[in-house]
């Protein structure tokens, strides 16, 4: 029996330690600029500037561009790391798949340092693989070669934003209210409360809520995150990642 339970545990752990497990967890609250590297290529101020620019863009157009800076690709190819990360974090909106992952590994010599730009499924028409190559070579590498990483990322994201804007904009996208407050719930709640006050008054007080009503009340309060809403706790300044998908598109290389 013990032997089998060991085997079962081994099987479980093998399942968990797939490649996705090597990808960092998505940050809470969600952030668009994620510097997980020890390289110090961006100052705090520069990170904040990029974050604010990308947040504004995400709020205006629903397209989410994520910058991830790492020291190590965990033995994966850059395309795989970027694709799996975009998929795992759910960058972009669920129905539009309009996220972009910019993966940067700044350390190492030429050929070792890496940049990969991965658009989600929904943006591959607006940003074909060739466009990601041109953006890398024309907008980003010239700055990276001079160790001006902020300028490179700034210009690169500008170019990606101008291409992505044409595909999805705020007109086509109605922001989802995650766990939002629904008016009908409030009305129903008031009716139930008024009903009880009236009934209890007639009876002359006393008598708690019946089990059914208690259940109804609690489900009204609990369902859909109640009055608070989940998004505010996890969503960062742009409403949080929406669950977009990635299929291995884009291009990458070294400078």
């Amino acid at each position: 029996m013990k032997k089998y339970s060991f085997l079962f545990l081994l099987f479980l752990s093998l399942q968990v330690f797939g490649q996705a497990a090597l990808i960092p967890e998505r940050p809470s609250p969600n952030r668009l600029v994620n510097n997980l590297s020890s390289s110090g290529i961006l100052t705090n101020n520069e990170e904040e500037q990029l974050e604010r620019k990308l947040e504004t863009f995400a709020n205006q157009t629903s397209n989410q561009i994520v910058i991830v800076i790492v020291d190590d690709l965990q033995g994966m190819e850059a395309f795989q790391y970027a694709t799996e990360l975009g998929q795992k974090w759910g960058v972009g909106q669920k129905d539009q798949d309009n996220g972009i992952v910019i993966l940067l590994k700044p350390l190492g010599g030429p050929g070792v340092r890496q940049l990969f730009i991965a658009p989600g499924y929904g943006l591959q028409g607006a940003i074909p693989d060739l466009a990601t190559k041109q953006i890398r070579e024309n907008e980003m590498y010239p700055y990276f070669k001079e160790n001006k990483f902020y300028e490179g990322l700034d210009k690169g994201t500008d170019a990606l934003m101008s291409l992505a804007k044409g595909e999805y904009n705020s007109d086509q996208y109605a922001p989802k209210k995650k766990g939002g407050f629904k008016l009908w719930k409030l009305i129903l709640l008031i009716i139930v409360i008024v009903f009880y006050i009236l009934r209890n008054n007639r009876r002359g007080g006393g008598g708690g809520l019946s089990m059914g009503t208690g259940f109804l009340l609690s489900s009204l309060l609990n369902s859909g995150g109640g009055f608070g809403g989940r998004s505010s706790s996890d969503g960062g300044g742009f409403g949080g990642f929406g669950g977009g998908s990635f299929g291995g598109g884009g291009s990458g290389g070294s400078w």
């Binding site: 795989q80 299929g247 598109g249």
Partner: protein, 201 residues
């Protein structure tokens, strides 16, 4: 009389629970099975994109005059063979999948050889259209590899689900069978050559 009622009640309860359990399992199996089929379609799209995009390649390569004819004809033959083998997403037997995969892999590795040989042709490297194709080629291979991995993941999820006790009983009753996997790709070693070559440039 009273005892009988209690026993009947217990039997009824167990029956009810197991029927609900069976319904839940059945629905999950349908969802997961459909997920595998949907993922197969994604795999098909990725392979088809490689077919479509290589059409232009032949013109580009031929325009750069002196390219090895044998390498080019190998790719063309493998491509036309692979085009002929199409499979229905709802009828994915292991045999058909293996046949599809064999044809696609033959095409993929002959294409990989062509891209590697192309390194030795400065004429070809100088053509902008060919350099563009190199970028697209990497993207095609990346997409195929991504969708294949997802397909195997979906198939593995489904297979694990239907083979665990007690779901395996319901799976047998409802007639759900194990889904086939992709084998490890033969000739995949051709791809990194191109990567190295590109990085060196």
């Amino acid at each position: 009389m009273k005892k009988g009622t209690i026993i009947l009640g217990i039997i009824g309860f167990i029956l009810l629970v197991s029927v609900f359990n069976g319904c839940g399992s059945y629905n999950s199996m349908v969802t997961m099975d459909e997920g595998v089929t949907a993922q197969w379609k994604q795999v098909g799209v990725a392979y088809q994109a490689r077919m479509d995009k290589t059409k232009n390649l032949f013109e580009i390569v031929q325009s750069a005059a002196d390219f090895e004819k044998s390498t080019l004809t190998d790719v063309m033959e493998a491509r036309s063979k692979a085009t002929r083998i199409q499979i229905d997403a709802n009828n994915l037997t292991p045999e058909k999948m293996a046949e599809f995969e064999k044809a696609q892999n033959a095409f993929g590795s002959s294409l990989g050889r062509l891209m590697a040989v192309a390194e030795n042709y400065p004429n070809l490297q100088a053509v902008q259209a060919f350099r563009d194709f190199q970028t697209q080629y990497e993207g095609m291979e990346n997409r195929i590899s991504t969708e294949r991995i997802r397909f195997n993941d979906a198939a593995q999820n489904f297979n694990t689900y239907i083979r665990r006790f007690p779901k395996n009983i319901w799976a047998r009753i409802f007639g759900f069978n194990k889904r086939a996997y992709f084998e490890a790709q033969a000739g995949a070693e051709d791809a990194p050559d191109i990567k190295k070559m590109k990085e060196a440039n």
